[in-house]
């Protein structure tokens, strides 16, 4: 007797449909799972057996073979428990086979027969090849985001049995409650002074430009960075699903309501490994921090302390907006469209409060800066020095503009850019620039001088024009004028690499 049940498995952040085929036959009693299951998958036998017995059912003293098709793809996790149990019950005709024909099953079983949530419910439900899907109560919110009204839930296996036998109707799935209001984000109005850094945040938000802040401890780098998500417009529904998919697949805690509605903000500690940052892993391919921050902000505090390999592994994702991870047992692609914000001290002592105050030797400074490669620094369109604000601004300064009003401007600038060229200014190709970012003659002169002085490379020129475009968009100007370019140049201060430091000293 054979029963086939729909389920799904994860590969990266995408699910793929899996048919769980359960065959019960004569012969020596036994239970085998085939189709490249991992250990937790193979242990399903013991969980399913106990769950069946706890639910008042008999364990068939026969030979049971479970195949997870397609059988050539490795599968992991306990998410097949319910599908195996239901398939077994259908195969021994405890439940009518037609009752499960149009349903998928995704849940882990407890030994008491209760249904437990699985990691990655959203992509899994999306992938199940059936009209309806049965999930654990704790997965309902997440499952409904893509499964809609086809999502069913029961608390226990025994309850499921009565429904499938036709003795009871499906319990009502509680209508999704209105998502609770989001807790307030830190507001930009709390930042006193810092007009340049505030504007840099605004430009980063409007154009999706990566931002590097260099400044002594206590200058407010972290405070500023934490206010960037509040300047980004709320996620579009499709973006929100994308983000939730990644979060769900990685097992991150989802906000109440299941949907990530706000641009995420991820701030991994500086001892993060390359794999944890960009994704991958030994057995299961998990998305990294850069993917968890997709459509939001990835904040790297103390950039100089990160493992160099981890930073270098960010280069390709930042360029392409996706992470491609390849391992011996498969490959995966994760989204990685982030605004990267990084902060670091100007030198190991962090005392560069004023010229001449630093206590570091030249060699120590050179070592500190050598950890950042030129190509990585090149990814930052906005680089600025953040200084400690004057006490009078801290104590007596009026509160600055609120996040909400900046967000409106950022939203308008983003709309302008998207209507004009279909992408944010941070992703403009050099070929498009002349058309979408025409320069005034004075602006051309300014850029010409900067290139001639050696302040800008060809690549730098392109990036400065992109940033100037964003500044002009924020000012609702169609042409890029000289003061837009001047501000963009101000945001691209030369970062001290060992070479440039030596030249700065000997002056």
């Amino acid at each position: 007797m054979l029963a086939i049940v729909s389920s799904a498995a994860l590969s990266g952040v995408q699910g793929f449909p899996v048919s769980v085929e359960v065959h019960v036959s004569g012969g020596l009693p036994g239970f085998a799972v085939v189709g490249l299951p991992d250990t937790s998958c193979r242990e399903a036998r013991d969980r399913v057996r106990s769950a069946l017995l706890s639910s008042g059912l008999e364990w068939p003293v026969r030979r049971v073979t479970v195949n997870l098709a397609p059988s050539g793809v490795p599968k992991g996790g306990a998410g097949f428990d319910l599908a195996i149990a239901v398939g077994l019950l259908a195969a021994i005709e405890e439940i009518p086979p037609e009752s499960i024909a149009s349903l998928g099953f995704l849940a882990e079983l407890g030994l008491d027969g209760s249904l437990r949530p699985v990691t990655g419910a959203l992509p899994l439900v999306d992938a199940v090849a059936a009209d309806g899907v049965v999930v654990a109560p704790d997965n309902v919110d997440e499952a409904r985001l893509v499964g809609g009204d086809g999502v069913r839930t029961v608390a226990t296996l025994a309850e499921l049995l009565t429904v499938l036998r036709g003795d009871a109707a499906w319990p009502d799935v509680a209508a999704a409650p209105a998502p609770p209001p989001l807790p307030p984000l830190p507001d930009l109005a709390e930042v006193r002074g810092q007009p340049v850094a505030r504007q840099a945040l605004e430009v980063a938000a409007a154009g999706g430009h990566h931002l590097l802040m260099i400044g002594p401890p206590g200058a407010g780098k972290t405070m500023l960075a934490r206010r960037l998500p509040g300047l980004l417009p709320p996620l579009e529904p499709a973006e929100a699903i994308d983000v939730t998919r990644v979060w769900s697949a990685s097992g991150a805690t989802l906000p109440p309501g299941g949907l990530v509605r706000r641009p995420p903000f991820r701030a991994p500690h500086h001892n993060v490994s390359p794999v944890a940052l960009v994704g991958g892993g030994h057995r299961s391919m998990r998305p990294g921090e850069v993917s968890l921050a997709t459509n939001g902000v990835l904040f790297l505090d103390e950039l100089g302390e990160f493992v160099p390999q981890a930073l270098e592994s960010l280069r390709q994702p930042l360029e392409e907006g996706v992470v491609r991870v390849s391992r011996a047992n498969g490959s995966a692609t994760y989204p990685a469209r982030v605004v990267l914000v990084a902060a670091m001290n100007p030198c190991p002592c962090g005392r560069s409060g004023a010229p001449g105050a630093c206590r570091c030797s030249d060699a120590a400074r050179a070592r500190y800066h050598r950890r950042l490669s030129g190509p990585l620094l090149d990814r930052f369109d906005l680089r600025l020095h953040v200084h400690r604000p004057d006490p009078e601004h801290l104590l007596r300064g009026s509160p600055g503009e609120t996040s909400a009003s900046v967000r409106d401007r950022v939203g308008a600038a983003r709309v302008r850019a998207l209507e004009r060229q279909g992408c944010l200014n941070g992703r403009l190709a050099p070929a498009e620039l002349d058309e979408v970012a025409p320069l005034t003659p004075a602006a051309v002169l300014l850029l010409e001088n900067a290139v001639r002085d050696g302040r800008l490379s060809a690549r730098g020129l392109h990036r400065v024009r992109c940033v100037a475009r964003s500044i002009a968009d924020l000012a609702e100007s169609s042409a890029v004028a000289d003061h837009h370019v001047a501000a963009a140049l101000e945001f691209r201060l030369p970062v001290l690499t060992p070479e440039s430091y030596a030249s700065a000293v000997r002056r």
């Binding site: 001449g356 630093c358 030249d362 003061h483 002056r507």
Partner: protein
């Protein structure tokens, strides 16, 4: 071959023996005097080789026996004649204390160098000399003042003595060789073939070509920490007046000051902002009674060489426009950030950035690590302004 003979068979000069003795590990001026014990270099060298230093090293204390053994091992595998040839090949002059060519200024010095190694001509030491010292971690203000005083003194025929370190030292010498004037004098802590810091290689060569570079250390000596205070003592001994341009609270320049005071040399300090950590040491010197040095004129007065009215160089910078003047005003005379200028002027970042760009280009402002500093006077080569960078001036020397 008799080791006492030179390559060509002539006996080696006293300086060769002294240079060889100084080349032994951990040999400083004081230990050298003990080893010589009033005798000649050759006798001392033989005593070292044969291990018959006897009681000469007793004042050293516990390390005496260990050092004598170490020196004996080293001296046995060295050929004095061969080492002497290296000095001749490198055209480094060696003068021993008491020999005819030895600078007379050290005659009544409490701690004269036993041997002086020099590149260039010792004649540079003949005239009036002023030491200009200061911190490596200096501000734009300090660099400007050091350059001005260096240039002014050289033009007035006063030799500038300094240490060829980064920062103030380098700027003072860059100023001294930017004009056609008195030869510069440098005293360094390393051997004359070990250029330290490497960034000053060009300046080092220029000073040696125009004046003289002096050292107490034999060839091949790396700059050990203790050699810098020793070097500072020579700067103080060589200077008729010592000018401290910028110094941190416990900066190395203060050791030069102590040595100068011990030798009754007048010490002048350049007043700085009370907020600048790089001026804390100099301001403390002023409080302690050092004379203020506001410019070349003050130094010349201290030397007793006061001249008539000092004429300022004509302003060559482009005039500041009406639109940019408030920005220059907002930067003020303290290091400022763009942020502060935006707050002080109330203008938008774009406008301020445009004005700053114009001012930097015109040589009115300099920019470093996000800090803006106002440039007091036209310093052609030293100004960061790219328009001036192409000029052959002090900049190429300072590289």
């Amino acid at each position: 071959m008799n080791p006492a003979d030179g390559i060509d068979g002539a006996p080696l000069p006293e300086a060769a023996w002294l240079a060889a003795l100084l080349g032994l590990s951990d040999m400083g001026p004081r230990r050298l005097l003990l080893t010589l014990a009033g005798g000649g270099g050759e006798a001392a060298w033989r005593a070292v080789v044969t291990g018959r230093l006897g009681h000469r090293l007793h004042p050293i204390g516990r390390r005496a026996v260990e050092l004598a053994a170490l020196w004996q091992r080293e001296a046995r595998c060295r050929d004095v004649a061969e080492e002497w040839q290296r000095y001749r090949d490198a055209s480094v002059g060696v003068t021993a204390l008491g020999s005819p060519g030895f600078p007379a200024v050290f005659d009544d010095d409490p701690e004269p160098p036993a041997v002086l190694f020099h590149q260039g001509s010792l004649d540079a030491i003949a005239g009036a000399r002023v030491g200009i010292v200061g911190t490596r971690r200096c501000t734009r203000y300090g660099r400007d003042v050091a350059f001005e005083i260096g240039a002014g003194l050289a033009a007035a025929g006063v030799a500038v003595v300094s240490g060829l370190a980064l920062g103030i030292d380098a700027c003072a010498h860059a100023g001294a060789i930017s004009v056609d004037g008195a030869p510069p004098i440098a005293v360094v802590g390393s051997g004359l073939d070990v250029v330290y810091p490497k960034a000053n290689r060009g300046l080092w060569a220029d000073v040696a070509a125009r004046g003289v570079v002096l050292s107490e250390a034999p060839l091949g000596t790396s700059p050990a920490r203790w050699r810098f205070p020793a070097r500072n003592r020579l700067i103080a001994a060589l200077s008729d007046v010592v000018v401290v341009v910028e110094s941190h609270e416990a900066g190395g320049s203060l050791s030069t000051v102590a040595e100068a005071v011990a030798r009754d040399r007048p010490v002048l300090a350049v007043p700085g902002s009370v907020r600048s950590p790089a001026s804390r040491g100099t301001n403390a010197l002023l409080a302690d009674g050092a004379g203020p040095a506001g410019g070349v004129e003050d130094v010349l007065i201290a030397l007793g060489m006061s001249t008539g009215a000092h004429r300022r160089a004509a302003e060559r910078r482009p005039p500041v426009g009406a639109a940019t003047a408030p920005v220059l005003e907002a930067v003020g005379w303290h290091p400022s950030t763009t942020e502060q200028v935006v707050l002080r002027t109330g203008r938008s970042l774009g406008e301020v950035a445009l004005a700053i760009d114009e001012l930097v280009r015109g040589g009115w402002l300099s920019r470093r690590e996000g800090w803006l500093e106002r440039v007091s006077a036209d310093r052609a080569g030293l100004v960061d302004a790219p328009a001036n960078a192409a000029q052959p001036g002090a900049d190429s020397h300072a590289e």
